[in-house]
């Protein structure tokens, strides 16, 4: 480790290593600091992505693809199953290997990656972020950098240390628990989703197959609703009921920031990417791909800033994010607010209406239409959504 870099990236998840990769590719001198002892471990993720999303960054490979997904099944609170037609293919990854590969790609471009390095503050000079302090091998070291990229996940403090408000509201934080279980009877090409108060109020429950009768089974509850009953309790009850013979191979906690996209994702000397910038799809909670997309944007802009020695170019990252995925997430956030108003009986009647349609018409679009038809009061919300 040197004492000065062009770009210091805090966090070695998909967003951080992708930012590092593209910054290094653009000629910047890049360091990634990861507090855990190993990139990719522990995995805190359902690990589902779509094919279209990842091919921009890495070729799907059997060493990190655990299962290929061709079907979705949505289970309503009363047990009605809807199987919407989906196009394309998805994967359930082995993120341990996937994150490793992403880090390797960054290293191949020349980025230096250091683990067991805990960043405990950012340093500032004249209102500009100009480095970090890091606890490493028993020492506290000050590192200087032209740009810091905060890719420190849901627990992000980098932005807040620098004065940005990135606290996630209780309404938007999804409090999650997941097990990876063996000896479960699941279809290897089908992702299952359960909706309703009894499974996961303000969120949903998922069963994502990982091959050989194993699966990620988890759920997320809106944090403002998990007060009475916490995520792990919900999950234990579900496992007891649906998979009493399963062996739990791992159990994890997690948080997903399903929030409105931040108004600003950079400030002088600092960029935020991934969960740290609330770049998760607020409806699905998926954040792997969007974090990588933002990581790529930020990495490229960072390299440009360094090359041209012009800090004002940092705003290009904000602009690019806002006009692409940012705008989309803004719409998704509004949809999320509508969906969150659904109660169990709403969900049941939508599912019932869907299952009466011929199979070829059971698309996600039809699902949305049913939601509106069944609940005229929601039309107002949906209109607002499309006309605002």
């Amino acid at each position: 480790m040197k004492d000065s870099y062009d770009v210091v990236v805090v966090g070695g998840g998909p967003a951080g290593t992708t930012a590092a990769r593209f910054a290094a590719m653009g000629g910047a001198d890049v360091l990634v600091l990861e507090k855990d002892r190993e990139i990719g471990v522990p995995v805190r993720c359902g690990e589902a992505v779509d094919h279209e999303g990842i091919i921009e960054f890495i070729q799907p490979d059997k060493k990190f693809v655990a299962a290929e997904i061709r079907n979705f099944k949505l289970v309503a609170p009363d047990g009605t199953v809807v199987k919407p037609l989906i196009e394309g293919v998805g994967y359930v990854l082995d993120r341990r290997v996937f994150d490793y590969e992403l880090a390797r790609l960054a290293a191949d471009e020349g980025a230096e990656i250091v683990t067991k390095a805990y960043v405990d503050s950012v340093t500032r000079n004249n209102g500009r972020v100009d480095g970090v302090t890091v606890q490493y091998k028993g020492d506290r070291i000050r590192l200087k950098s032209k740009i810091v990229i905060g890719a420190d996940g849901v627990e992000s403090r980098v932005g807040r240390w620098a004065g940005m408000n990135t606290t996630v509201s209780m309404h938007d934080m999804e409090s999650a628990a997941q097990v990876t279980a063996a000896n479960v009877n699941v279809e290897d090409d089908t992702c299952l989703f359960y909706f309703g108060e009894k499974y996961a109020p303000g969120g949903y429950l998922w069963v994502f197959p990982k091959g050989n009768r194993t699966a990620n089974i988890g759920l997320a509850v809106a944090a403002d609703q998990s007060r009475k009953k916490h995520a792990l309790k919900f999950l234990e009850e579900f496992m007891e009921k649906k998979f009493p013979d399963a062996s739990v191979l791992s159990k994890l906690a997690g948080g997903v920031p399903c929030a409105e996209t931040l108004e600003e994702v950079s400030m002088p000397g600092l960029m935020l990417v991934g969960d740290a910038a609330h770049q998760v799809n607020p409806v699905s909670g998926g954040g792997i791909i969007s974090g990588m997309i933002a990581g790529k944007m930020a990495g490229k802009v960072a390299a440009d800033v360094v090359k041209k020695n012009d800090m004002s170019l940092l705003r290009d990252y904000d602009q690019e994010w806002q006009k692409s995925l940012g705008a989309r997430h803004h719409r998704y956030y509004k949809i999320k607010k509508v969906i969150y108003k659904f109660r169990d009986n709403d969900l049941n009647s939508i599912a019932a209406a869907m299952s009466k349609l011929p199979e070829s018409e059971q698309t996600l679009g039809a699902l949305f239409k049913q939601a509106v038809i069944k609940h005229p009061t929601l039309i107002v919300d949906v209109m607002k959504l499309f006309f605002s």
């Binding site: 805990y118 849901v154 209780m170 934080m173 409090s175 944090a223 792990l232 948080g255």
Partner: protein
């Protein structure tokens, strides 16, 4: 004040994300609260998926958040 049952903590960071005071420190292996900054708002307790926190009687010197 908020007590931490460290043995139950999975180090996931959900509590850190919601803490309005940014006073939870989470390293690779440990969680701790800076108690002189903590306002006892209990958001960490409610958000934690694993019930790591336990609220024990209000401290006298604490400013109550709006």
């Amino acid at each position: 004040m908020i007590e931490i049952h460290e043995d139950k903590c999975d180090l996931c960071g959900c509590c850190v994300g919601v803490c309005p005071e940014n006073c939870i420190d989470l390293t690779e292996s440990r969680i701790s609260i800076e108690y002189d900054i903590c306002t006892d708002c209990r958001k960490c307790e409610w958000a934690c998926p694993f019930e790591v926190f336990e609220f024990k009687n209000q401290r006298a010197n604490v400013k109550v958040p709006a």
